[in-house]
Point group: D2
Chain length 161, copies 4
Amino acid sequence: MDLKELTIKKLQKRGVSIDSIAEITLFLQEKYCNNLTLEKCREYVLNVIEKRESIYAILTAIAIDEAAEKGLFDKEVNELITNDEGLYGIDEILALSIVNVHGSIALTNFGYADKIKPGIIKVIDHIGKQKIQCHTFLDDIVSAIAASAASRIAHYEKKDN
Amino acid sequence: MDLKELTIKKLQKRGVSIDSIAEITLFLQEKYCNNLTLEKCREYVLNVIEKRESIYAILTAIAIDEAAEKGLFDKEVNELITNDEGLYGIDEILALSIVNVHGSIALTNFGYADKIKPGIIKVIDHIGKQKIQCHTFLDDIVSAIAASAASRIAHYEKKDN
Amino acid sequence: MDLKELTIKKLQKRGVSIDSIAEITLFLQEKYCNNLTLEKCREYVLNVIEKRESIYAILTAIAIDEAAEKGLFDKEVNELITNDEGLYGIDEILALSIVNVHGSIALTNFGYADKIKPGIIKVIDHIGKQKIQCHTFLDDIVSAIAASAASRIAHYEKKDN
Amino acid sequence: MDLKELTIKKLQKRGVSIDSIAEITLFLQEKYCNNLTLEKCREYVLNVIEKRESIYAILTAIAIDEAAEKGLFDKEVNELITNDEGLYGIDEILALSIVNVHGSIALTNFGYADKIKPGIIKVIDHIGKQKIQCHTFLDDIVSAIAASAASRIAHYEKKDN
């Protein structure tokens, strides 16, 4: 299995389907682009995920979440990660490796999605907060992918007005 | 007059009072910090503005807006700046010089404020869109200051829970 | 004339040819990629320049330099920009709009080129320091383009080992 | 033990003393600041390390390196991290959480140090390359701390000229 396939499989195993990310992209971008469909958003989400920066960021983020979940890190670091307190901040930074390569529109959409937590972001955040699984890094990664796909749409799809 | 005073005076001349920025900070942070007052937010906004990075960013941003307003740049660049189309992106980048030094919470709040445009941000954006004045760079700067003050509050004020 | 042509023409008018940037890219990347030629570097430099983020960043940077050169900004801002002191920092930030979209290798090469100032970067920095012309923003932009082209080569050209 | 002490202890356990970082800061900044001593650099390095963003970044970076060293991640991710190939890039991104909060001078010095690998950076990079230990994340973290301390010196120490 190549790394791209592995990345998509890993996302799904952690509860995040391509469609659930595409729904956030649709939510972010539909007001700027008439006739935008979930199908179209799915394509753009896949374009983002197959970039090398994304594959490395997604696989690393999930690896950290899984290791924290299993308690494999030193106690202090493990607590830092599983508690995911607002000031931790390393999760948002790691997501920047996806966001930065997609420009300013990706950046502002990332901040927006990270604050309002639409769709699947809220779901995994909630599971993380309840300590059922650790999603400290994954929720920021999902915001980053959805925001970057929205930015690609803004760059490549014709605008209505 | 020192550069800090000049910066505050310039902001006011362009229609942005310290209080109008503090109101956005209060809006961003009050749900995380009980008993947060406008007075307290004003202090934090001033802390952000008096940093060297902020002074330089604010003065440069306003200088670009004013020069574009007067048509001092080459025609093509002048239009790029006064039209402020979504893909321009240099305005958001310049604001990062304030946001970056205030950490991850500043970054996500910046993206959020830039999208929903609360209070004075919407006002100057509207004036800019109507081509009355050029506020292409200033609205991102105001988002950056308010978001950075919110981040400082998150770092330095006691949390309720 | 379209914006891409205008951008290349503007660079040349400010003393920066495509070849002078390609030479820096060759210097940065030749130790990692055998058989790398100036011709190949030139192609990659043009790939970087024709991206929308680059066009907007280059045109804006040169517009600021030219306006400062003519003394069109308020006295205090004009001095800030023409003096280009080490702590100003807005010039490096603006260049990030090119660097960020090209990933981590662009970022480290940007810092490296900005410090050692190879080739044309040193030339325009020197002209700027002597107050003959203002190149405060342009030298960082040239570092950014050369570093981003080096990053593209690292991503797309076959490695020797 | 508080987190700051733990962080310093962890750095030392991984082969990085405060003095070895201060030596890099001295190397980076001595040409801009006469009379700069190793003692003074040590103070600034400690100022950087005791910031919350640094503590979290350092502890997380070392935790990832240690987990990869022990083979605790999935095979594919573990190889990605231990191989530390040039295009991986997540290590540089994580280091940005320290660099960004210290401004533009930190950023360019970070890129420079990351390329030329002075002192202890070269030592741990070499140990990593030989697969004796995994230092994929740590070498970038050390560059980030040294570069950020250099930036603080540029901001707070009097210049000679």
